[in-house]
């Protein structure tokens, strides 16, 4: 007879999850993925400029980042772009999703392919395409804020709304069309049944897609790098120029702030998606 103690020690042939090398590779991988980020966050609180030795806890680099006007301006730009881009991406993405879910129409397959293109095309190609486009049409460069962020916002909407469409469409596949039919039978107009039946049903998808669009916009560097000018620096572009210059705790502090924002938004999005 095998006692409980022995059973714990013997690894069955199918229990790969309990094999040493499997466990080891999992933990090593997680350490590889998290150690740099954890170190970055931890050392944004370290009371020392150069050393990699812990010298005590401080908020001074956060204060420094906060009083760095260029950094705050870049952050404001990023948030403004992300908000506008999210709003328009959600509307366009919702329209695309409903269109593809609801209608049969000639040219549907090419349209579907074209909508997924922004997801597939390498970022660098999209970046140079946007740069060429805005140069060719002579997009004005010296508009007052926030209009000068137009070019970047347009580029962000172009790569965000297909993602929103994807998320909303996944939600729509589970929709029971009888609900809408019932509404129509009971005398609701097309608009009413859309507003009172379909739109509420899509809401979790719209919110999740919106959060995705917001994060994509806030995080984007490559495409923004090609559409931003000297007056329109976003947060990642600013951090990029700071990194090129040197590795400082101030950049750590700014990065930590951005990581926190992204994590909170992602957590909300995942929770909403799981619920739906």
């Amino acid at each position: 007879m095998i006692g409980a103690q022995d059973r714990r020690r013997v690894v069955g042939p199918l229990e790969y999850g309990r094999r040493m090398w499997v466990r080891l590779s999992l933990w090593a991988t997680l350490a590889f993925l998290y150690a740099p980020i954890v170190i970055l966050v931890a050392f944004s609180f370290n009371d020392s400029r150069r050393n990699i030795v812990w010298r005590g806890f401080t908020f001074k680099y956060y204060e420094k980042a906060w009083s760095n006007d260029a950094l705050i301006e870049a952050f404001t730009n990023s948030l403004t772009i992300a908000l506008i881009s999210t709003l328009i991406s959600v509307i366009l993405g919702m329209m695309t999703a409903v269109l593809l879910w609801r209608f049969r129409f000639p040219g549907k397959a090419p349209f579907e392919g074209a909508v997924s293109l922004p997801i597939i095309v390498p970022e660098i190609c999209m970046g140079v395409a946007m740069m060429t486009f805005f140069a060719d049409i002579g997009w004005p460069r010296d508009l007052p804020w926030p209009l000068n962020l137009g070019a970047i916002t347009i580029a962000h909407i172009s790569f965000s709304f297909p993602f929103v469409a994807m998320v909303v469409r996944a939600r729509l596949t589970h929709f029971n069309p009888e609900l809408e039919e019932a509404a129509r039978d009971l005398g609701a107009s097309q608009w009413q049944s859309f507003r009172d039946i379909l739109l509420p049903y899509m809401r979790p998808g719209l919110i999740a897609g919106g959060l995705l669009a917001f994060t994509l916009s806030l995080d984007d560097f490559v495409i923004t790098f090609f559409t931003s000018g000297p007056e329109t620096v976003t947060f990642p572009v600013k951090v990029y120029s700071m990194i090129r210059f040197s590795v400082t705790p101030e950049v750590n502090a700014a990065s930590t702030a951005l990581i926190m924002i992204t994590i909170v938004l992602t957590a909300i999005a995942l929770r909403l998606q799981n619920r739906s």
Binding site: P13, L14, E15, G17, V22, S25, T29, L30, F32, L33, Y34, A35, P36, I37, I39, L40, F43, I52, L92, G93, M95, V98, L99, R102, F103, R104, F105, F111, A114, L117, P118, I120, V121, P122, E123, I124, C125, V128, A129, M130, M131, T132, F133, I157, S158, F161, A165, Q190, D219, F221, V222, F226, P236, I243, V247, S255, L258, I259, T262, I263
Partner: protein, 306 residues
């Protein structure tokens, strides 16, 4: 699903705005780059469209072919390393207790949601010559040296007179390590999806019938995970090939990839037509890889139906 003809008003209402946006702010820009790739630079700012494939020919110059080869090599190596690590991780998650699977998967995916630039920056802090890896190695070196002194071998300086930090940054190693760091989640997800679907009784049967663990792995688990492997390889290779930030921040002068050359043409070198041709070559390679995947998936589906 209904025909658009039955209900044209809502159809147009939903069709026009996204189509318009996609056409004007995505397809037209791409088309402009395509046209530009057949142009020639005259003077400092002017470009004449000649419709000659000169820029594409120039990409065949050994200098650029070498950069393409290097990009393929980096992306291929990244994919291979990700496949090996990703497979172990995917197995670990698949065979973990059910209640922990979701959490582990989330842990692997979470870094993917943090900013790429910040993750790359985090790697710089770890890899630089006064960074954490080297500090750890130096501790190890001092400890080993102390041990040698203790046993009376200190005079011989077996480990060198002093600690030499490893050059981990601004070289090809850093680029591949960075690419693996960034792309690992892309690989784990499809592998996990394939392994999770796998019927475990096949493994049991193989083990019962006398195959060893290693043989079972190569003749049962790997073939069953093939769709996941194929998907994972493509969705890791494609973005890795077009990487800009990783080679830009972690690489040295000889670790430039295609995207870095494209960026240079559009910025400092100011040769937009050539940059446009290079971006279209990169795009064609991407489309080819994705078509390959679709083709393969289609074949499998037909095969399983037959």
């Amino acid at each position: 699903m209904e025909s658009w003809r039955k209900n044209p008003r809502p159809f147009w209402l939903f069709a026009v705005p996204p189509s318009f946006w996609l056409l004007v702010f995505f397809l037209v820009p791409l088309a402009l780059v395509w046209v530009l790739s057949f142009g020639e630079k005259v003077g400092l700012l002017d470009v004449v469209i000649t419709w000659q494939p000169d820029n594409y020919m120039r990409a065949l110059d050994p200098l650029y072919l070498q950069i393409f080869a290097k990009s393929f090599w980096f992306a291929g190596l990244t994919t291979a390393v990700c496949l090996v690590i990703g497979f172990a991780v995917a197995i670990a998650i698949t065979f973990a207790p059910a209640r922990r699977r979701g959490l582990l998967l989330m842990l692997v995916m979470l870094p993917f949601w943090t900013n790429l630039l910040i993750r790359t920056y985090a790697l710089i802090a770890v890899f630089r010559s006064k960074g954490f890896v080297n500090a750890g190695l130096e501790h190890l070196w001092q400890w080993a040296n102390g041990l040698l002194t203790l046993v009376g071998l200190g005079e011989l300086q077996l480990l060198g007179a002093q600690f030499e930090p490893l050059q981990l940054l601004y070289n090809n190693f850093a680029v591949v390590a960075g690419l693996v760091y960034v792309h690992l989640p892309f690989m784990v997800l499809p592998l996990y999806a394939a392994l999770d679907r796998m019927d475990r009784s096949y493994i049991e049967a193989s083990l019962d019938l006398g195959a060893g663990q290693i043989r079972t792995f190569f003749s049962v688990i790997i073939p069953l995970a093939m769709p996941g492997i194929f998907s994972g390889v493509i969705i890791t290779f494609v973005p890795a090939l077009g990487s800009f930030l990783t080679p830009d921040l972690l690489g040295g002068t000889d670790s430039q990839m295609i995207a870095n050359v494209i960026e240079r043409q559009f910025k400092s070198a100011n040769d937009w037509p050539f940059g446009a041709a290079l971006s279209f070559i990169l795009m064609y390679i991407t489309f080819f890889a994705i078509a390959l995947r679709a083709l393969w998936a289609g074949k499998r589906r037909r095969g399983s139906l037959a």
